[in-house]
């Protein structure tokens, strides 16, 4: 899968499945500096994911500021054919002043055995080590 290089950052399109609905999430930042994976609430809404009173709330605290999100387990989060089932994502407003569909964090990248090739600007997934 080709990465899109913009603002000196690498983006990819993800697919998210939740309760029978599958949506494409464009402009997802591939971010090895992020521990967890966040999906923009506007795209989550397309998959009928809305904040419920029972959702776990979380505050992400970083160098540049902080943001509140909620946590929801989705049926699948994938890049092309490769993905993870029953995966917890954070849903946030993600108002950073530029188009962003989400952040693919280390939790996903590591569990999916992602190989990021910055020479060819591509991402692929290795088979799990035995």
């Amino acid at each position: 899968m080709q990465l899109i290089f913009r603002h000196s950052l690498a983006f990819v399109t993800a697919t998210l499945t939740y309760e029978g609905t599958t949506i494409e999430v464009p402009d997802v930042l591939v971010d090895t500096g992020a521990a967890s994976t966040v999906i923009n609430a506007d795209f989550a809404a397309e998959a009928h994911i809305f904040l419920r009173s029972s959702d776990q709330l979380r505050r992400l605290r970083g160098v540049g500021g902080h943001e509140h999100v909620f946590v929801r387990r989705v049926d699948r989060l994938a890049i092309g054919e490769q993905g993870l089932d029953d995966f917890d994502v954070e849903i946030g407003e993600m108002d950073y002043g530029f188009e962003i569909g989400g952040i693919l964090g280390m939790d996903f990248l590591r569990a999916a055995n992602a190989v990021i090739d910055l020479g060819t600007l591509s991402i692929r997934f290795a088979s799990p080590s035995p």
Binding site: F50, V63, Y96
Partner: protein, 92 residues
């Protein structure tokens, strides 16, 4: 207000609240003093309102909550990466 007072004043409601005093403890954000900023009809609207307020007042600490929570449980995770970075920073 404390969380118990917020719950008593706004039972079973979606709220945007502001942390007037807060601290971090054991990977949780503890709100010691709370102001109720807005009452909203549903979760989506509450998050949208939170986003607007955050844009207008980036230095203040807002949260979206539902008062059905007996204890206000907000996990906290440390982030590196782009959190809080604006487009102006990226294009410069």
């Amino acid at each position: 207000m404390r969380w118990q007072d917020v719950r008593a004043a706004h039972p079973d409601q979606w709220l945007v609240i502001e942390a007037l005093e807060a601290h971090s403890e054991n990977d949780h954000r503890i709100l010691d003093r709370i102001a109720v900023i807005d009452v909203c009809p549903d979760g989506r609207t509450t998050m949208k309102r939170y986003g607007e307020l955050r844009r207008m007042h980036p230095q203040r600490e807002f949260c979206f909550v539902h008062t059905s929570m007996v204890e206000l449980n907000i996990e906290e995770r440390l982030w590196l990466g782009i959190r809080g970075v604006r487009a102006a920073d990226l294009s410069s």
